[in-house]
């Protein structure tokens, strides 16, 4: 009885498995193979195995480490602010959002827009001659920072990311917060807890899984940021906004030797798998405890 079911299950999974092998499995092998080779666009068919030279080249490239540092700093900073701000808005505005659900649409509009389009919008917003933001800052305060200059650009791209994705955290938190059963809140009130105490003792613990989820998703998306930064400033002045994906992209299309770009993406993949493994193990331990 067991055997035919197993065969049938395999059949049901076959399209998915084939697709994954073709679109992800094979390219991954290609990635590893080429990263160990001496290869250019011209010699794609006849690569020469060269050992770990590409990896050594990447690991000794200061620009690579600057990109790693940028991605980590960007990811941690934006994820933290987005979760904190999203939580505040979801809880503080919840009486309004409960009574008028359509308000949520206004708050979540930014997440429907492509990050690349958002980046292009800021080319307009921040433009020194036609952009309204510098214009009004000059009108009101007589001065405006050069948002895309080396000293400011990191904070500018962080704020852009935060303003687009805080609504994502807010949406998740709003749904989680409004699904807390009324009798839980009622019971807390009976015990004499109110306001801030109810929130800290009763509601916050119930929101924790959603907070962790939003933080992890936003951290991942922050580390792999590409679209909005790339269309706004590219690699940035002096390479100052080179995230890890931008580093890989530019070193690939700069032409010449492909090996280092591929070695960098293999390293990125390994780091992502390691991070994922640790996160899943931590989650398992939580669930087990």
């Amino acid at each position: 009885m067991m055997a035919p079911k197993t065969r049938e299950n395999r059949l049901l999974a076959t399209p998915l498995v084939l697709y994954l092998l073709l679109l992800l499995g094979f390219p991954s092998l290609l990635n590893v193979f080429y990263s160990l080779s001496d290869v250019t666009f011209e010699t794609l068919r006849t690569p020469r195995l060269s050992g770990f030279g590409n990896f050594a080249a990447v690991l000794s490239d200061p620009a690579f480490w600057r990109a790693v540092w940028f991605s980590l700093r960007f990811g941690v900073l934006t994820a933290t602010v987005e979760v904190a701000l999203g939580l505040f808005l979801a809880v503080f505005l919840s009486p309004l959002l409960q009574a008028r659900p359509w308000l949520l649409a206004l708050l979540t509009l930014p997440i429907m827009i492509a990050p690349a389009m958002m980046g292009l919008m800021y080319r307009l917003v921040l433009h020194e001659f036609v952009g309204p933001l510098p214009y009004y800052l000059f009108e009101w305060f007589g001065n405006s920072p050069a948002f895309l200059s080396p000293g400011w650009v990191f904070w500018t791209v962080c704020v852009i990311e935060i303003l687009q994705w805080t609504p994502f955290a807010l949406l998740l938190f709003h749904l989680a917060y409004s699904s807390i059963p009324a009798d839980v809140r009622e019971a807390a009130r009976m015990d004499g807890a109110r306001g801030w105490r109810t929130f800290r003792r009763v509601e916050l613990p119930m929101l924790m899984p959603t907070l962790a989820l939003a933080a992890v998703i936003r951290l991942i998306d922050g580390i792999r940021v590409f679209d909005n930064i790339y269309v706004l400033v590219g690699a940035g002045p002096g390479g100052s906004t080179t995230s890890l994906p931008i580093y890989i992209y530019t070193s690939f299309f700069r032409g010449g030797s492909l090996g280092p770009a591929l070695a960098a993406s293999v390293l990125f993949a390994l780091a992502a798998f390691a991070g994922l493994f640790l996160a899943l193990r931590a989650a398992d331990r939580r669930a087990g405890a």
Partner: protein, 272 residues
Amino acid sequence: MNALRWAVLVIAVLVMNMPVIVTIVTSLKPPAEIMSNPGLIVQSPTLANYATVVTVSDRLNVWAYLTNSVIAALIGSLLPLALCLPFAFAAARRGFGRRLLLPLVVNLRALPLIIFAIPIYLMYQAVGLLDTRIGLGLVLAVVNLPLTMLILLNAIAEIPRELDEAAAMDGARTGRLIARIILPTVRPALATAFVFGFITAWNEFLFGLILTTQHAVPMTVGASFFFATGGGGVQWGVAAAVIVVASLPPVILGLAMYKQIGRAMVAGAVKG
């Protein structure tokens, strides 16, 4: 207290949507006004910029970008449904693939896509899929697999088992069972996954940038062409109008579905 809440709400909405407001306003300004008046009050509103956007030139063709995006996004959102539904049935009803395949698919969400972009570029170059809508759509499907899988898995798990057991008693084979019982019941879930997948695929930029050059350029990449300073600077009004055009489809779909999408994400989070 409620006045304070309203104030916070209004400020949050205005600040977070500020680039959208600026872009819409700029798209309505005639070229002469853009330089002289960077403010948010339009003196002589016009739709001329939109007329320019939809006019085909030898360098820019917004209709082609839109068509490419529609086709690639349809492939990128429908293919995951077809791939995930049969497996989700096996996983939800028989616990099949819960050890390896299911976590693999769900956790694709956590992998940076750039790590696949370059080898896929090289592979596509070899098989002739570079700069094709099919090639782009095939890759966009990767992005949509995780959430589609979670949505379908949850939807199938919610169908009472008695329903398919009764059908099995009647001698229905698994294929018929999925087609007759499961498929109609999970239709709302399929719709949610499809809309969310379409938005995600439409908004994707990196793969479009790397895998297309001329014939299959999607709207997001095509819009960035309008910002290229070829022949005397950016026409800001036209550039603003093209962003509005490129953003309308996902925004309309998203506003119709944002609650279902949010619920699907929360549900996926708890059970995944």
